[in-house]
């Protein structure tokens, strides 16, 4: 169980469990690998954007409480970022994460914030 938690928290990778690579656990290994694979381009918080679903509407950018506090005049007011304190911004019509260690879901005092997920009209964002 502890392994599973660390795996989900991305402290460990599947490769850290050598028995999983044995032949008899092969199907389990493949299944786990499938589950964890989207994580290729995922940030440390598990923030994942499905680029084929994102429409660049910016709802998440404007709703993100970190953006609102760090950039009230820009993203917090619905406009382009006006400083580098934002953690989400739109580039080429897709949302991009940056400085993700500032996300409320990061670090020892993390909280389960859903602002970016709940405001997405196309379900393009998930935390994995």
């Amino acid at each position: 169980m502890a392994f599973a938690v660390d795996l989900l928290a991305r402290k460990l990778s599947i490769e850290d469990c050598p028995p999983l690579k044995e032949e008899k656990y092969r199907s389990g290994y493949e299944k786990l690998n499938d589950l964890i694979t989207p994580v290729g381009n995922v940030t440390e918080t598990g923030f994942l954007v499905h680029e084929d679903k994102c429409i660049g509407c910016g709802n998440c950018v404007v709703a993100c409480p970190v953006n609102v506090v760090g950039d009230p005049e820009g993203t917090g007011s619905g406009r382009a970022p006006s400083n580098d304190k934002v953690i989400l911004y739109i580039k080429d019509g897709i949302v991009r994460p940056v400085n993700i260690h500032e996300c409320r879901r990061f670090g020892p005092n993390k909280t389960l914030c859903y602002a970016c997920i709940d405001t997405c009209p196309t379900k393009a964002i998930e935390f994995v």
């Binding site: 429409i55 660049g56 007011s77």
Partner: protein, 414 residues
């Protein structure tokens, strides 16, 4: 070089906070615009070429041929205009006057009735900036901005903090959706979703009217009266309410009377405004310009003794009744947007297309004249969906002429 911010001409929100990355006089990156806006600003992959009868020609030859077609026609139509600057639209109206032509724009089968009602001061309206700063009750009626105007909710109507809306959308704003389906917009702000049958909008307006007058609201589709009364209560208490009217509403109203009644009633107790969800970036601009010059927003004929106007002068009825014998289309693709039987009819007469990109109409046009993409390859002014004038800037150089210049050159030839 101007570093921006620039204005996106992808839709009538005219987002004015866009920056771009350039390389070799091309837009290769776009910041802050939505997916659709990026696609617009990067330019299309099928630019239109300059042709007469399908053969490549120089611009002078194409302009001369266009002038000849328009001059020889007894009933020429000039149509489109939603993707042109105010300057080009003015020139177009001037040309129509000179030719004694028919002139119309896409508002003719789009948001025309609502823009007209606003210009005639029959419906109170407001600006999107006022919505951002003050709106507490936002009604999306027959509209799905997440798909038609993707930044609508984030830039103005729901998510941003405004001067009098500092606490965020969860506490400060209530969104109501009235639609025939649970749209993607309803998925993010749809705890107040009212699903009604197709075409039931006027009936629902009357039901709301009853609810606002504290009568039991009955509907033929048996919506729970309690829910309608609850909605009436929300609307009544609005400090600053706004209805964003989509085509779903506009197409369902044979007459605007039920809407006028509802807006009047709402304004007895609350402050309620309406903004039409205009699609093309400067459709409203054309309506304003023609209105100022003729008192009509669209559907005008300059060939009679006086300026004629009415549904029989609409692009749809003109084609259907075989009135027009040539047409010049500016920044529009009627072959794609008109009913199939009318598209077929339109394709039988000589057409001139002015557009940056190839489209269905250009493919069957006798003359095609490529123009500069406004907001990217040329500047100008435009009118946003809420009636606010916005200045467009040029971002990159081009040797293509602007719509305005092309029309002016055609006029010189006539």
């Amino acid at each position: 070089m101007d570093k921006g911010p620039f204005v996106c001409t992808g839709c009538a929100l005219l987002c004015d906070d866009i920056t771009v990355d350039l390389q070799d006089n091309r837009v290769i990156g776009v910041n802050t615009a939505c997916l659709k806006g990026v696609s617009r600003m990067k330019g299309c992959s099928s630019p239109m070429t300059c042709t007469v009868d399908g053969k490549t020609v120089d611009v002078d030859t194409a302009i001369k041929e266009a002038a000849r077609i328009l001059e020889e026609a007894k009933h020429p139509l000039i149509f489109g205009h939603g993707n042109s600057t105010l300057e080009a639209q003015k020139k177009s109206i001037e040309l129509a006057r000179e030719l004694g032509a028919h002139i119309d724009d896409t508002s003719s089968f789009c948001q025309g009735p609502l823009v007209e009602a606003i210009l005639n001061e029959k419906i109170p309206t407001c600006t999107l900036d006022e919505v951002r700063h003050m709106a507490d009750v936002i009604v999306f009626w027959g509209a799905d901005p997440s798909h038609s105007h993707p930044r609508h909710l984030s830039m103005y109507s729901y998510f941003p903090r405004g001067k009098q809306r500092q606490r965020g959308w969860e506490e400060d704003r209530t969104a109501v959706i009235i639609d025939v389906r649970r749209s993607d917009t309803a998925a993010v702000c749809g705890d107040k979703l009212y699903e009604i049958p197709v075409g039931a909008d006027p009936e629902f307006m009357d039901a709301l009217l009853n609810a606002l007058a504290s009568k039991v609201p009955k509907t033929s589709f048996n919506m729970d009266p309690k829910r309608i009364l609850e909605l009436a209560n929300i609307l009544k208490k609005a400090e600053f309410g706004v209805v964003f009217a989509g085509l779903g509403m506009t197409y369902s109203l044979d007459s605007l009377e039920p809407l006028f009644r509802l807006m009047d009633k709402l304004n007895e107790t609350a402050k309620f405004h309406l903004i039409p969800m205009v699609g093309q970036y400067n459709m409203r601009g054309f309506d304003h310009t023609l209105f100022r010059e003729t008192g009509h927003i669209n559907r005008v004929y300059f060939g009679g003794e006086e300026v004629e106007h009415g549904p029989q002068r609409s692009v749809v009825e003109l084609i259907r009744n075989n009135i027009i014998d040539a047409a010049m289309i500016i920044g529009s693709d009627p072959l794609a947007s008109l009913p199939g039987p009318l598209a077929k009819k339109l394709s039988k007469i000589p057409l001139i297309t002015i557009d940056p990109c190839e489209n269905l109409t250009s493919r069957i046009s006798k003359v095609t004249i490529p123009s500069a993409l406004s907001g990217v390859e040329c500047g100008g002014t435009a009118i946003r969906m809420d009636g606010v004038e916005v200045v467009l800037k040029q971002i990159i150089e081009t040797n293509r002429l602007t719509d305005e210049k092309i029309i002016a050159r055609i006029m010189e030839e006539i």
